[in-house]
Each structure stands twice: as structure tokens, then as C-alpha cells.
Chain length 134, copies 2
Amino acid sequence: MIKVSVMYPNKPGVRFDHEYYRTKHLPLIKSRMRAALKYYTIDKGLADREGMPLSPYVAMCHLLCDSVEEYQSSFGPHAKEIREDIPNFTDATSIHQISEVVVENSAKVETAALQRSPIDRVRRHKTGPRRSAP
Amino acid sequence: MIKVSVMYPNKPGVRFDHEYYRTKHLPLIKSRMRAALKYYTIDKGLADREGMPLSPYVAMCHLLCDSVEEYQSSFGPHAKEIREDIPNFTDATSIHQISEVVVENSAKVETAALQRSPIDRVRRHKTGPRRSAP
């Protein structure tokens, strides 16, 4: 699994409409990438009480796909449309990171490890493949 | 919920032991923060075929906690010990981001929304509070 992280650098007076990002922009990406986008996450950089940024990025999203190829083939044909939506929520220029997901969710790893006990493996061998942990 | 993102900038010849990071450093953090750390994720920045970095960060981890206060009170007392482990896997200096989690997992949101159908809400009203989606 791979993760495409899109990060919007903070700067004094940066414009970023978090509501639009959550309710319009990410749903647009999801509607275009469809099943190739397994799921996404959205982060909002924290600010102090005066609204001054405490974080290097004002916002980030992370897109989870099975492979770089899946990402490119599903995002690529819609890249122009998605890019043209960006001025609707920010004047920041994003930075992109593509990562291999080493640990997707440490709590899920623990759960999955418990479910893969030797006894369970014997059962699986007898009854055929089982579904992965939810 | 908040997310503390720790990002290690890429540079030519950067040293980063991803195996140590996954099997020693993050488990050390988990063992010190205990239940205050809901879960963590680990990302490994992709490189090209010659091993040249394609991503601004060689590695990232994201620590999920209920609040900034929970993070500070559980991480703070062990910060020195955790910091002293860093030279064991990298010579990079990390950047930190603290974010509000706006969408933790879009697939879970969809699942939770389906589970909160009007019929379900009536049932919940009759039988008392129900547990949140897994």
C-alpha cells in the first residue's frame, strides 16, 4: 500500500478554507479516483490562541492506494480538474510525498497478529483463505 | 483527536534505518506513552531505481492521541530517552507538526454514516448508547 501526502505549507496570512477542503475538494478527488482510492485522511495544522500557526503545514491530506500505478492511473486523467479546484480553498502551493506504508495502523497490526495465531492458521488451511482483519 | 507528525527531511546520503525505526523506535514510543497513544502509522519515502529520493521526507510517523494534553503528559516525561534513541537510526533532524484530525479515515466515516441510519438512531434511543464504529 502507498500513501500520497499532500502538504500545504504555512505562511503568515495564508488562506485556507478547511470547510471547503473537507466537504468539496476531497470528495471531488474521491469521486474521480473511485475504488482506486482506498481511503483518505485530513489533518488541520493547529494554531495558537492568536491564530498564529504552530505547525509547518496549514493542512495535509493523505491518499491511500494499493500501488503507485493505481494512484497514477486513477488520479492522472483528472489531475487538471482537481488542480483547477485548488484556488477555491487556498493560495498555498502544496508539497507532495509518495511513501510506502510500513505500518498502516499499529492497533490493527496488533489485532491482526492476534488473529493469526497458529491454531487459526491450521483452521485457515483446512477451510481455505480467510478475509484479512477489518 | 490529534495527530503528531514527525517528518525526517530527505537529503543526499541521508542515513535512515527503516528496520530499526519500525522494530525498535516506534515500539519504544508506544511502550512509554502506553494507552495515551491510540495508534501510530509509519511511512517510508519512496526512492527511484537508483535510490535517489523522490520525496521530501525519507520517513514519517504519525502519533494519534485524544488531545494535545494527553500527548504532552505521556510523551513529555520520556522525551529525553526517546530523543537519545534517534542517532541509532538516523542523522536527519526531524520536523514536527501537530494537527487536528479532521477526517481520520474516510472509509470509516462512510461506514459510521451507514450505521447511523434513522432506524438505527431509533433503536439506539430505545436501548441506550451504543459503541462507536470500530
